[in-house]
Symmetry: C2
Subunit: 134 residues, 2 copies
Amino acid sequence: MDTNPSDTTGLPANVLDPDCPSRVIFQRIGDKWASLVVQVLADRPVRFSELRKMVSVVTPKVLTQTLRSLERDGLVTRTVHAQVPPRVDYELTDLGRSLLEPLAQLRKWAEGNVPAILAARDAYDDAQDEALLG
Amino acid sequence: MDTNPSDTTGLPANVLDPDCPSRVIFQRIGDKWASLVVQVLADRPVRFSELRKMVSVVTPKVLTQTLRSLERDGLVTRTVHAQVPPRVDYELTDLGRSLLEPLAQLRKWAEGNVPAILAARDAYDDAQDEALLG
DNA sequence: CCGTATCCTGCTTGATACTG
DNA sequence: CAGTATCAAGCAGGATACGG
């Protein structure tokens, strides 16, 4: 109650509040698999086994956890087709699709600045080495 | 070598590659303290003790770890003023400042969609309860 | 095919105490 | 003031095996 969620003018008010629900988004982005899954689902519905193949080698348990979280937050839908063999499709909701844009921006930044970051790391590590030797 | 880092046309090529350095960015955003620190440093240099106060209650060890990572990646600079009492300022680099924009976009999305996400959670949890009772 | 159950391990986070 | 050292704990992530 001490922060105002409708304040989107740029002030880092409620982000600093650990209890603010907006923080869960950042956690989700940083989640090892969640943001990956969202981007894989960007274009079309994908079924479970297909998802497993596309997302390198993730164990079914972890993939299920990820999907459940995303489903609970209303970012993806889970559709069970009652047939043999079973078939379950996962698809982005409108809410989930609206996340694609900010996600893409971030990805663009990340990919564009990889060289700079790598260079910074090298410089930092070199400085560390020299400090140890000197 | 199987992916092209200069491909920023929108294809989710290298993001799916666990070895691609661009993935570290997502990890950093999801880091419990890193994105917080970056936003706190948005406007002005801040010294260590001040940082501790602004970012709720983080232990010095964890804060140091966070700052070291950000420094290593070239997002913040660490300036030691040789004086008594000691004074160390942390400040955003140009690279770090350039991250503020995509970060703000994400924050805007997060804050704007908190109600939707919360509602989705309620609906999901209710459905779970009914499934158990039914 | 689509998961769940169980167990395990490593890393992140943290509390506490101490040093330059 | 600005950290480091050490120890402890929790939990996300994963391997493996089994159920609907």
